[in-house]
Symmetry: C2
Subunit: 211 residues, 2 copies
DNA sequence: TCGCAATTCAAACGATTGTTTTAATCGCTA
DNA sequence: TAGCGATTAAAACAATCGTTTGAATTGCGA
């Protein structure tokens, strides 16, 4: 049970507290209390509060992006001759978030709330970290979408992919609240969300384009 | 110039500070400083910090919802016999936010960032305020969409409208950052956003439905 | 088992937080 | 203009914040 290192316990507690109460109420005293460690341990291991938050984001963001890129890469291998299916591309982008959330022992579900909040918080450093990390992978997926839908103007792809990411981010942050409102088990609500989100993305990208 | 009442200056300053630096860095000392008033004036006029934040949200939210409902109502009057156009319905939902943002003398553009952050912050009281306010108008628009697209299952409408709201919310919060990244004037970027967002919503709702 | 580095701990630092108190000032009516 | 309620102002309150300090403790290689 508590075979986790102090560093890991601090990261997990930070993640939980951000997800539950947001950045505004986050304090390193609450973190150290929930992590069953000392105040100074946080500064000892992470330097300061800001760097701790960045570690929380980086830890899982790196993993999420790697999984997404691997799934997209595998897709390209399988369909080397022809452009790959649009639904598969969107699946490669959305599903890794699903896996992350369902893998409760990794605490990914909590992290997606953190991510949604980090977006909205938009403190200069956080936003810079997120945008520099996100930009390359977004370009890769936009290119894959272009191959799947060559008739779509690149600008249209840019906008609609942007909106799909928005719908995904919003849905992630909405968790708990929406599933409670619908009196549905959270994991069931999530599976439904991803399924509907992919259909939604495909629909928005394959509809007729006429101004 | 400074013909505004103390109450209004406090509300405006709060709005600006949340939009610029988020809830985490918001303090009533910064608010009173920017509003050129005294610390105690905030507690005198609004009770406490939490109630002040709620006033900031309510002030413009009420106006936004009223405009949306009026536009939807006018639409129903004009097309009483037949179901009204889907694009018009989405326009009635999205455009009021546009007007709000473009009307700089009302400071609406700033408020949309506040709204996007309030969503992500998800402190119990804020989220409760937003969801209780939002639920009725969402039901109204979902019904209008149903009339415009009677062949779409109600559940599909629910999900896709939810995603469209997500894309809208995300885009609002993204402002400034994205327009700066694209080296585009903010108002131009916004007009483009709304235009693309409506096309995006129509596309996602009118595409063929096959699981 | 000794010794040293890594880690944890309690305590205090200065700064800032939201709120309250008490006095001064304003604006309007009688 | 006198007086009174509404508003603003300065100051202090207790609480909490992030960070630092220096000593105590741990764990592991020699």
């Amino acid at each position: 049970m508590t075979t986790l290192s102090t560093k890991e316990r601090i990261l997990n507690s930070t993640e939980n507290l951000i997800a539950e109460h947001g950045f505004a109420e986050l304090s390193i005293r609450k973190i150290s209390q929930q992590a069953h460690t000392n105040l100074a341990a946080i500064n000892y291991h992470f330097g300061n509060k800001q760097q701790l938050i960045e570690h929380v984001l980086e830890r899982r963001l790196n993993n999420l992006f790697q999984v997404r890129e691997k799934m997209l890469h595998d897709l390209n291998q399988g369909n080397s001759a022809m452009a790959c299916n649009l639904e598969q591309v969107l699946h490669a982008f959305i599903a890794p978030a699903l896996y992350m959330i369902n893998d409760r022992h990794q605490g990914g579900r909590v992290f997606m709330k953190v991510l949604a909040r980090a977006y909205a918080e938009q403190s200069e450093s956080l936003h810079h970290l997120l945008s520099t990390r996100y930009t390359p992978i977004i370009k890769e997926f936009a290119e894959a979408i272009h191959l799947a839908c060559p008739e779509l103007p690149r600008e249209t792809i840019f906008w609609r992919f942007h909106f799909i990411i928005g719908a995904l981010t919003y849905t992630m942050g909405d968790f708990g609240a929406s599933s409670r409102a619908k009196q549905m088990p959270e994991h069931e609500y999530f599976n439904k969300s991803v399924e509907e989100l992919i259909k939604f993305g495909v629909a928005s990208l394959t509809a007729d384009v006429n101004s």
